[in-house]
């Protein structure tokens, strides 16, 4: 875990906390989120019971736009997209169908999309946002925290904003506003607001 700048697992039961540090380190490595995680702090109190994880991510990649993975050529009233990276093809098609209607989008082969668009519609086609990598990142982060936290802790709350995330879970009902709990952990980590 050398690449994490800060990594602490604290518990009211020190022995249990130490074992959970091992679990967290295995899960983080297995789920391959080490590259996006910069600082992580976990606090567990089995008596309450509560599990709080707070962390900071590294610089998050920007939105993926059409230009990033497709070449655009114009042939009369036709707009031709040549797809270089198939990863984003499905969400792009979904988006185009929704925007222009299925009948105007033709896919003659696997890596080509042809569209019949008027001049107005052609504006900004290269800049359409196809995917937001942070969505996947958030999902992965939260899934990782779910695997780390004890299984009985089914009541969860989570948030991810501006590279800061937190995840709180318990076996009992959580208090309405968990911000004070989360803030306390952030400030112990040296990231208080």
């Amino acid at each position: 875990m050398g690449t994490l700048e800060y990594f602490q697992v604290e518990s009211t039961e020190p022995a249990g906390g130490e074992l959970y540090r091992r679990i967290a380190s295995t899960v983080i490595t297995d789920h391959d989120i080490l590259r996006v995680l910069d600082r992580l702090r976990i606090f567990i109190d089995p008596e309450v019971p509560i599990f709080i994880a707070v962390g900071i991510t590294r610089t998050v990649p920007r939105n993926v736009i059409v230009r990033d993975f497709a070449g655009i050529t114009y042939d009369g009233d036709k707009v031709i997209l040549s797809i270089a990276d198939e990863t984003y093809l499905a969400p792009l098609l979904e988006l185009l169908w929704r925007k222009f209607g299925k009948e105007r989008i033709v896919q003659p082969d696997r890596f080509t999309i042809e569209m019949h668009l008027n001049t107005e519609e052609r504006e900004g086609i290269e800049e359409i946002v196809v995917a937001d990598p942070t969505e996947g990142l958030f999902r992965d982060l939260i899934y990782t925290m779910q695997v780390i936290c004890p299984e009985g802790f089914k009541v969860k709350k989570q948030s991810f904003q501006n590279g800061k995330f937190w995840f709180v879970a318990s076996e009992n009902t959580l208090q309405e506003d968990v911000t004070p709990l989360v803030e306390e952990q952030f400030s112990i980590m040296g990231e208080g607001s």
């Binding site: 518990s11 022995a15 249990g16 074992l19 295995t26 089995p46 299984e151 076996e171």
Partner: protein, 312 residues
Amino acid sequence: MILVPITYKGGVYRHDEILDLIEDMGGYIIQKHMIAQEVVLQALIPREDIETLRVLSRPLTGEVIFAPLVGTEIAIVSMSLEIHHLPHASCDVAEYLRTAGAKTNMIGLARGFGKRIGLLSDEERDIINEHDLVIYLFGNFETCIKQKMPTFRRGIHIPIVVTGGPSTDALKKIIDPPVAGYVGGFGRFMHRTKEAPEIAKLDDIVSEVSRVLDGRRSDIAKDPLSISPARLMDVILEQLPDIHDVTSPVPVVVQMDGVRVKLPYDPFAVQLKKVEVEKGVTVGMISDIRPSRMRDYILVKIKPFSDTGLMV
């Protein structure tokens, strides 16, 4: 004649000679596995004949190992089927106990997780009770184990061995009234057991289980069973031809005080009851035959000598 549990590992070539030898000695083969070119036998053989078997298996490059758990069926209880509890800890324990000769069954509880919500259903409890011993694989926090243990003990009348993250002493302190065995430092973890200290922990589990089962064996010896379970298995295999149509690798599972017969209860229970062990002594006279909660199997529990006045 005292029978001792052993595992024999050797090549397929001429292994039938070993099978014959064990039979001639008056021993019993509990399980036989053929894995590629290797044969693994789990057997009970007379103590004084181990050396003979060793000598005769030498030219076949066979190996005879003492396997303390042969002839026992053990339940490994995992708190859930989620990634939190399976596969690592549960599978590793189950697999390791098998190498010591035990027949292990893994039971994933429907609602075993969580200190407050953890519970056993009737079906889970009954299935556990059909075994010789149960191992509960708990998590890492003392508080949770302490709070959920009473629910997991309720209605269980076979010996319980508890494993968990806290140290053995800590487990002994928090579990009250005490259970039959404890192995600490082995709670929830998310990797395979590969390192030496972890393997040592698995060895600890085997020795703790053996210790508890030895205690049970000496209890049984005080009022011996009317027939040895291994012999009952042999009788069933010989006299109930339908058992050979069962595709399970172990159609008759030997337990410490009975056998589990993997045939459906309704059509075969009466037939099984009438199987003659010796002239005038049937299986029905010396044992309780009841439906198992595991699938539709038949569970045969042998009555003690004090009950039947018979010893065959």
